[in-house]
Amino acid sequence: MVDFLIGLFLASLIVALFTTRLFRLLLWYSMNSLMLGILALSIGNSIDDKAMIITGIMTIVIKAIGIPFVLKNLSQKFHFVRQIIPEIKVQYAIMLVPAILVFTFYLSEPITHMIHTNANYVAISISSLFLSLLLMMEHKNVAPKIVGFLSMENALFLLGITATNGMPMLVELGIFFDLLMAIVVINLLFHKEELKV
């Protein structure tokens, strides 16, 4: 079951890499976060960790519903460019994505020998970190870059959930707080204010 969810997590990220529409990208980001939340819930349920369950619920509420909704509103308010064509052509991306995956899988092989529970997920979270970096790189517009940053956060969260069986509650709440702060700052950054002296 966990394998299945983690597969969907990576799959939604890869589909996001090939998306050319902003709202579709937000949908895939939301799917990505939803999978992360369900993953946290199922792992938390299996190891009986209350903190992880709270984290999972917060992930679903904030990342899967809240942030895509806010970003969609922002994009309508500030008239973003909604057609986002990746700078890297598809034919190169087809070669680049598997190359990144192979590279990261082999990179994290020594690590997988050291973590005994859920060893493979470390590899997948590292590769999703790289893929979200690629997502940030391949777009010129700001909005997909933000989505890339947010999915990088997701990749880190995945690592936190799977490699360490959840970080301390305080840290996770703090990360959520910072994420909200980031959204506020992004909102403020979109306001183009004129100089009035």
Partner: protein, 471 residues
């Protein structure tokens, strides 16, 4: 003495920033001064002092860094009072600046005092995000673009740090459980970490994150561009305070990494910093305006601090750190006056000051300029002496003596390039160009005097022995 008292001035500043009154400007500045009071109190209590359970513990290093940062903060606030005389800034931007300055302080206090990797990261991220908006108080397209730039690159850097933190936590969790995030426990149990490779991998990744944030190789120019686009007090905050928060994190992480595997740490950091200084020295040689010049020289000094720290001379690193934290903001604040006749006019920047204020200003600025390239009475001179000495003595114990001497000679050659550039810039500032009248305001001068006094205070025997006791 508790957390509330430490955070109170910042919270008051945050609330006051919402008032729409002409006098608010002075009230905000005043609350910003008040931040110093609880920090001095914290400085005086016996260490280690638990501020908030085992999460925030004040030890000697913390309070030293915090004290330095708060003095820098006061200097910056003083310069902010006359910001509108040099550049165009709206009152609304002023208030917003202070609002985010308050959040910045809260994040900073958390990250500097933290004894917990997670809280350190949270504070750092909060401070980073709040500076994003400070850049944008300058309402120009360039600043807007650079604010986005900072947001994205900063977010990547900070995410890398978190990534490393998680890996380090994962490496130590089998022996320490949930407490594997606390620096003191990690340090005590560093030798027992079951998978040192995982720890080193995490350390390397988070170190790269920190280095990117400080403008090391390969991101040498991004800080310079951002500081160019923003107002000069923001640049002073960056170099004086935010980088100190990052470097404190590096100090703490590397202390643990030294216990895990000293050789790996040393070689990694050594190669990285020498590469950085190599590139930065040539970038400095080509710098054509004050902001980029100072910001690149900040990168160079950060690299020196890091290299001194890992080569077993924490005293030199801390002295260098303190001196840099006072000198660089002072120089950044003085650019407000130096560039008041156009951005790229280096020639003649130090000419045309009338009256006692002007005299004092140019003398102070020239002293600072000569101090930043570590001419003798400057604390940087002593710290570099100590630092290179420590590097030699570390090499004595291993078989790499010759390589180390070569590296030091190479470093000195690179530093001499920077030295040459600064001296030539100083000459052109003083002896070339037209004489154009520039005005100096009392508050800026006062800020510079504060920095000069604190620099001299660094050289007092008492403070030197305090720094030695940290190490």
């Amino acid at each position: 003495m508790n957390l509330t008292l430490l955070l109170l001035p910042a919270i008051i500043m945050f609330i006051v920033s919402f008032l729409k009154n002409e006098k608010v400007k002075y009230l905000l500045a005043f609350t910003s001064f008040v931040i110093l009071v609880p920090i001095i109190e914290l400085f005086l209590v016996p260490k280690p002092y638990n501020v908030f359970g085992s999460y925030l513990i004040a030890d000697k290093l913390d309070t030293y860094v915090l004290l330095v940062s708060s003095i820098v903060g006061i200097g910056v606030t003083l310069a902010l009072l006359t910001l509108d005389k040099h550049v165009k800034v709206s009152p609304k931007a002023y208030r917003k600046f202070y609002r985010f300055f308050a959040i910045f302080w809260i994040g900073l206090i958390f990250s500097i005092l933290s004894n917990h990797m997670g809280i350190y990261w949270i504070g750092l991220e909060l401070a980073t995000l709040s500076t994003v908006y400070m850049i944008k108080t300058n309402y120009t397209p360039a600043a807007h673009k650079e604010a986005w730039n900072y947001m994205i690159v900063g977010a990547i850097a900070v995410s890398l740090i978190l990534f490393g933190v998680i890996l380090m936590y994962a490496s130590a969790k089998p022996i320490l459980g949930e407490e594997a995030m606390q620096f003191d426990l990690l340090l005590a149990h560093a030798k027992e970490i079951p998978s040192p490779f995982l720890f080193e991998m995490g350390f390397a990744i988070s170190t790269i994150g920190m280095f990117v944030k400080m403008g090391f190789f390969p991101m040498n120019l991004w800080l310079a561009n951002i500081e160019r686009a923003s107002f000069y007090p923001v640049a002073a905050l960056f170099s004086g305070i935010l980088e100190s928060a990052v470097v404190v994190g590096f100090f703490r992480f590397s202390k643990i990494a030294m216990e895990v595997n000293y050789n790996h740490l040393f070689i990694f950091v050594f190669v990285y910093t020498i590469l950085t200084i190599f590139i930065v020295s040539f970038l400095i040689f080509r710098a054509k305006d004050f902001m980029r010049l100072f910001s690149l020289s900040g990168v160079e000094h950060m690299a020196l601090i890091v290299i001194f720290w890992v080569s077993g001379a924490p005293f030199a690193a801390l002295l260098h750190f303190g001196a840099h934290a006072f000198l660089k903001p002072a120089l950044f604040l003085s650019t407000g006056v130096l560039e008041s006749r156009g951005k790229y006019r280096i020639a003649g920047a130090l000419r045309g000051y009338k009256g006692k204020r002007g005299q004092l200003f140019w003398i102070l600025v020239s002293l600072f300029l000569l101090a930043i390239i570590s001419l003798p009475p400057s604390p940087m001179f002593f710290s570099e002496l100590y630092g290179f000495g420590a590097m030699i003595s570390t090499a004595k114990e291993s078989d790499h003596m010759l390589a180390m001497i070569g590296a030091i000679l190479f470093l000195l050659a690179l530093l001499s390039i920077i030295f040459y550039r600064f001296v030539s810039i100083y000459q052109s500032m003083k002896y070339e160009g037209k004489v154009e009248e520039k005005t100096v305001y009392a508050s800026e001068l006062f800020a510079l005097v504060i920095f000069a006094v604190s620099l001299m205070a660094l050289l007092l025997p008492a403070s030197l022995s305090y720094l030695k006791s940290i190490a």
